[in-house]
Symmetry: C2
Subunit: 176 residues, 2 copies
């Protein structure tokens, strides 16, 4: 569908107010049961870098912002500057950890894909989806959908430690 | 907290495999009841641009990818090129519309912030959070939390047509 057709879709405002021009889709927040397990997954398996952590002891929770950047050299070293920087970036992941959930054996968060549904998934795009999936298999990452499953052979879904779905795809044409 | 302390947090892999270097946190997917209402909200209120739509008639759903960019000149005009481009960008929003939900009066999606909890919110950062919130008030956008509510006076939460929370903040220091 051409860009012009997209801008003509019902509901679309093709020329929003100039005020929106400085807006940035900064982050997506998900709650995680065990912060160390999630940090392991998002850094070791997917390559994210934690760039800010804030603890709220009175409300018994912590947040961590993570970014996924090929070039870490662009991440400011100064703490205040790094916080300003990350809040102006697109594609940031915020993990919220309510303290103590990691010690409750039956505690689990809702992934949004069973009833009641809502949020669906995060997506990480990769240069080579087959190589990435082979790597995830080697690392023992659980799959929701392997490339060979279902009709869409060019995408896979892995699961993070809380069971949130993460779509894996490649931008370039897929060799099959 | 310094970057070095962040990299020393329990669970963090400070030097993930080189294979992750090309990975991009591409998109977040949420299901929406009424696509036209959501496209109106995300384009008119927040300034997003729809850059790809795909219909799956056999499974009765459609998806739309949207980006929030100050400079639209960077969006490729060619359809195939634009799809490759958007799948390599960070900070993309994917709306999934299951056909017909808009005609079911009692149908609603789950925002993740009541039980069962999981996904929390999206966040749009803005150059001036007070000006942005005044604009949202003028546009009649519902608030989950105004700047004056609660203890965190520098952030607000608005709600999209499905009730998903969208945090509004500014990267620069907040004048109060």
């Amino acid at each position: 569908m051409s860009l012009q057709h997209l801008l003509d879709l019902p509901g679309v405002d093709a020329a929003p107010e100039a005020a929106t021009r400085g807006y940035v889709f900064n982050h997506t927040m998900i709650r995680v049961k065990d912060l160390a397990r999630s940090l392991d997954f998002y850094t070791r398996v997917l390559g994210f870098v934690p760039v800010h952590k804030q603890d709220f002891p009175e409300a018994a929770f912590s947040i961590v912002y993570l970014v996924l950047r090929a070039d870490r050299a662009g991440i400011p070293d100064d703490d205040a500057e790094r916080l300003r920087w990350v809040l102006g970036q697109p594609g940031v992941l915020e993990l919220t950890h309510n303290h103590g959930t990691e010690d409750q054996p039956d505690f689990r968060y809702h992934d949004g894909n069973a009833e009641p549904r809502g949020f669906g998934h995060l997506c990480v795009s990769v240069p080579d989806v087959k190589a990435a999936c082979e790597r995830f298999e080697r690392l023992g990452v659980p799959f929701q959908k392997r490339l060979a499953d279902g009709r869409m052979k060019h995408i896979a879904f892995i699961k993070d430690p809380d069971g949130y779905w993460i779509e894996i795809l490649q931008p370039a044409p897929f060799a099959g």
